[in-house]
Structures are given as structure tokens and as C-alpha cells.
């Protein structure tokens, strides 16, 4: 059957990438994007430039507002889908509209996890950070001298700590892991990155929150192992993401910590696909990174068009803190019988990069202020290039030549 109508539910990077890739690759049928926001925007700046007030909303749009019309995409903004009916080929919106859909792509994203640490009123200054409204609420409270507690020292927690210090807030960051992010960047780099909080006037504690209680003009926080509670003006919970699977579950699709999909992004119903943070490739963890969501969109488009999927590539991410640009690709592993760690430069003195090698193959890399090391590593991983650890470790070695010379 020729596909003549596609409805994409969700206006984040995964949904927007899906519609963009469909048009780019020749899909000529009806194409509708249902977005909870008026115009889809990019989320990474919500913890960085947008939160800092350096970029307004229109500067973080995922596409220019006129792009949708140019591409003949019906953007239905400020809209919520309440039901998807794959057998009937329909998507129903909250305003009662029913959209015909030969293929439905769910790009509903996720919600920030919000653990409960005690009774809190609706207006308590305890926030999560997922959308623009969250960022706006948080920003009004990040004034000079404000006391901010960040629960969770992962990428988002660390980025907000950096932004908040830049705005003059006092920052305490707690995480049960010492250091956080060791699995993503390796222990040595993780420890140095985590140490930047203290270096920039914040306080990083290895502990957990026992209770959060509303206090006069703020929140009283009992941290595990401390005799007294501390008072904060504002609290950010940055402890992870849960997939938004409600529509899929109601439609009878298989879900388990995400809408389960195959390698072509197809769910348990053949005419429904799922992309981005709402989806999980069966037997794999969710990627939860920007580029992973974008690639999901490209794969979904290829599936709908019946074309070859885009080539696989090692997963890549970036983060920024205290003016430093951190990137990672592939998988970092602790040294063991099979794996070795290769440092290029000196950890803690940017620019530097760290690679994980399995035998003579790079399987992962992390770089601080050395993005082209990660670009080289990505290609080494994707192309299965053999390298010598000593060449990689030598900052005088041109990584492009290493990549080319041994291809």
C-alpha cells in the first residue's frame, strides 16, 4: 500500500527530524506534525543559553517558522493528541479533530522523573527541567545569592549548576555517585568534571535527599548523613527521564520503559512507529541523547519510504559546563584484560581527549575542548580502523592522517 498520509505526534527533535527526513527523501503525501508547543524548539539550550537568558525562544526554534509551510508540512501547534487508532488509521486531537493517518509516528518524548520526598504544595519551588515552561520558572528564581539545590549530578544537573553559578546563584549539588557520569566518560574524567563545581564556587556532595519540606520562602532539605536540615530558595530535581507512553499503551502497543520498537522504529503495530525518548529499541537501553533522537527520525522516515536505513554510527553527545565543551562518542570502559584507556594530552588540562581501545580498535572517546578528536574517533569506530595506542596518545599525531593512513 502506498502511504499517502503520515501524522507525527510530538514536536521535539525526533518528531521534527522525522518530517524533515520524509520530505528530504521524497515523500509527497500528506504530512502533519502535532506539537504541544506553538513552534517546535530545541531542548539542549534549556539548561544552558536559554536558561541563562542569553537566547530567546525564537532563537532556539528547531526550524524557522516558515519552514513548515515551505515543506508542505501541516504544523498543528499548541495541540495535544488524545488517542491514536492504528487499525482505523486515525489520530484524534483534544479539540476533537480526527486526522487520517496511514502511518502514525509517536514522538511523544518523556517526562522528567519527579521523586516524592515529602508533602509539597503545588507552588513549592521544587522544579524539574524538561520544557520551556520549566526553564522559565527556574530562571525567575536564579537571582544573585539565591540558594539552589540540584538533585542529580548528571549532564543536566551539571549544566544547570554551571548556568546558575553564572547567574550568581549559590549552588549545592548532590548525587549518590562519586563521581557521577563515570559510566559515560570514565572515572578519571568524571572526577575532574565533577570537581569543577567546587572550583567554580559550588558545593558538590556525595549523598542523597531524605526529605524536602516546604519552609518559609523556600524548601527545608534533609540530606542523608547531616545532623540538621538546610534551607534552599529553590530545588531542581535532575534525576532522569521516564518515557511518555500513555497514547501507545491506550492503543494496545507493547511498552516496557518505552514504546518497544524494532531497528526500523516500528512498534508492535505495523503502521505505528516511535522515535526519540518515548521509544526503546527492544533489548537495548534508551539513548536519551539529541542525536540519537534525530537518527531515530531518519530511520523511521526510511522505513515509511521503504528505502535503505541510514548507516549506523556510534552514538554521540555533547555537554557544556563552566565554559568547557565536553563531547563523547561510543562506549567508555574501565581498563581490563580486553580494554585499555589512552589519554591524549593531560586530563584536567583542556584540550584533552581519552579513548577506550579494545585491542587496536577504538570503541569510545571523550574530549574536553577537543571536538575533532571525537569526530576522528567516531569515524575510527564506524570504519573499524586499527590504531596503535602510542600513535593515538601522541598529541603530535594528526588524527585525520591516522584515520586515513590506516583505512
Amino acid at each position: 500500500m502506498t502511504v499517502t498520509s503520515v501524522v507525527v505526534v510530538g514536536g521535539g527533535i525526533a518528531g521534527v527530524s522525522t518530517v524533515a527526513e520524509l520530505r528530504k527523501n521524497g515523500y509527497a503525501g500528506e504530512l502533519t506534525l502535532v506539537s504541544a508547543d506553538a513552534v517546535p524548539y530545541d531542548r539542549p539550550p534549556l539548561s544552558k543559553a536559554y536558561l541563562a537568558g542569553e537566547k530567546p525562544l525564537d532563537a532556539i526554534a528547531l526550524q524557522r517558522p516558515d519552514w513548515y509551510a515551505d515543506q508542505q508540512i501541516s504544523l498543528i501547534g499548541d495541540a495535544v493528541a488524545v488517542s491514536v487508532r492504528p487499525d482505523a488509521g486515525e489520530v484524534e486531537l483534544a479539540d476533537g479533530r480526527v486526522l487520517p493517518a496511514d502511518r502514525i509516528v509517536l514522538a511523544t518524548g518523556g517526562r522528567a522523573v519527579r521523586p516524592t520526598f515529602g508533602q509539597l504544595g503545588r507552588d513549592a519551588p521544587v522544579h524539574v527541567l524538561r520544557d520551556v515552561a520549566d526553564a522559565d520558572r527556574l530562571r525567575t528564581q536564579l537571582v544573585p545569592g539565591a540558594r539552589l539545590l540540584i538533585v542529580g549530578g548528571g549532564l543536566i544537573g551539571a549544566e544547570v549548576a554551571s548556568t546558575a553559578r553564572g547567574l550568581g546563584a549559590e549552588v549545592v549539588l548532590v548525587d549518590p555517585l562519586d563521581p557521577p557520569l563515570a559510566a559515560a566518560v570514565g572515572t578519571e574524567v568524571a572526577r575532574w568534571l565533577h570537581g569543577l563545581h567546587a572550583e567554580h564556587g559550588g558545593e558538590a556532595l556525595t549523598t542523597t535527599v531524605e526529605t524536602l519540606l516546604e519552609a518559609r520562602a523556600g524548601v527545608a532539605v534533609q540530606l542523608k548523613g547531616e545532623p540538621d536540615s538546610r534551607r534552599f530558595d529553590v530545588v531542581l530535581l535532575a534525576v532522569g527521564l521516564v518515557s511518555e507512553t500513555g497514547l501507545a499503551e491506550a492503543a494496545g502497543l507493547e511498552t516496557s520503559r518505552g514504546i518497544l520498537v524494532d531497528s526500523g522504529q516500528v512498534t508492535s503495530h505495523p503502521s505505528v512507529l516511535a522515535v526519540g525518548d518515548c521509544a526503546r529499541l527492544r533489548d537495548h537501553p534508551r539513548a536519551e541523547h539529541w542525536e540519537a533522537a534525530q537518527r531515530d527520525g531518519a530511520r523511521a522516515a526510511a522505513t515509511i519510504l521503504g528505502s535503505a536505513p541510514p548507516p549506523a554510527t556510534a552514538p554521540w553527545w555533547w555537554s557544556d559546563r563552566y565554559g568547557l565543551h565536553v563531547e563523547g562518542v561510543g562506549e567508555m570502559r574501565s581498563p581490563d584484560a580486553e580494554h585499555q584507556t589512552v589519554v591524549r594530552g593531560v586530563v584536567g588540562q583542556p584540550p584533552f581527549s581519552v579513548f577506550t581501545l579494545r585491542g587496536e580498535r577504538v570503541i569510545g572517546a571523550v574530549a574536553v575542548d577537543d571536538p575533532n578528536a571525537v569526530r576522528a574517533a567516531r569515524r575510527m569506530i564506524d570504519r573499524g580502523v586499527d590504531v596503535r595506542a602510542s600513535d593515538l596518545a601522541d598529541p603530535a599525531t594528526d588524527l585525520r592522517k591516522l584515520l586515513r593512513g590506516t583505512r
Partner: protein
């Protein structure tokens, strides 16, 4: 490495570098003081050896495309990996959404001549 000995003549362009000064897959930035343009201009050498020129500042944030990764007809921004077509300046990969400006480049006798403001 920037060509500070450039002479401004529209007919012959500005000599900005020797081709050999720019390794394949890399770029150099030419200051707007030399190019007379609003932005600096990145001279980018593709991995097939050809030279191209684009406005240097990524249209997404503020990174220098001359510090990017040049390969297969695209330059990849060193910050967020937005990709721009070397010949047309068009966005080939998000997060950038605005195309950038290409400029004409000629290579004569191993020297790179830039024609700021002229389309390739």
C-alpha cells in the same frame, strides 16, 4: 597562517594562502579585516583536495567553521556538528537552521585566491 599579504583586487581575488598550508579535511579562517566582509571567511579544504569558502561563524551559535571537520562536501561544526554544504552553504544537518554564505575561491599555481562576496 592567515594571508596577511593579500592584495585586494576583485578581478584576481585576494591571495589568502598556499594550498599546501591547508591540510585536507581542515580549514583556516581569514579575518574580516582582510576580506572586508561582515564575518570572517573560512577557507575549507575537502578531503578530495578541493578548496571552498564559507562565512566562518556557524549560523547556529558562535563556533568557527574553520575549526570544523571537512569531509565529503560538508563542513561539520566543531560545537554541535551542524553540517553545511561546502559549495552552496546550505544546511545539510541540524541543529543549524539557517544556511550560510558561500564565497568564490580559485586555486592558481598552488595559491588560494578568495573573492569575498562573489558566489562560487
Amino acid at each position: 597562517m592567515t594571508g596577511n599579504s593579500g592584495n585586494v583586487e576583485n578581478s584576481t581575488g585576494i591571495r589568502v594562502a598556499s594550498v599546501d598550508d591547508i591540510p585536507e579535511g581542515e580549514g583556516i579562517a581569514i579575518s574580516s579585516k582582510i576580506t572586508g566582509t561582515e564575518d570572517d571567511i573560512a577557507i575549507l579544504r575537502d578531503d578530495d583536495g578541493t578548496c571552498w569558502a564559507l562565512n566562518d561563524t556557524c549560523t547556529h551559535e558562535t563556533a568557527s567553521l574553520a575549526e570544523g571537520w571537512v569531509e565529503d562536501g560538508d563542513v561539520e561544526c566543531p560545537l554541535h556538528s551542524s553540517r553545511f554544504n561546502l559549495k552552496t552553504g546550505k544546511v545539510d544537518g541540524l541543529p543549524a537552521t539557517r544556511d550560510t554564505v558561500p564565497h568564490r575561491v580559485e586555486v592558481r599555481d598552488g595559491e588560494v585566491y578568495l573573492f569575498p562576496g562573489e558566489r562560487p
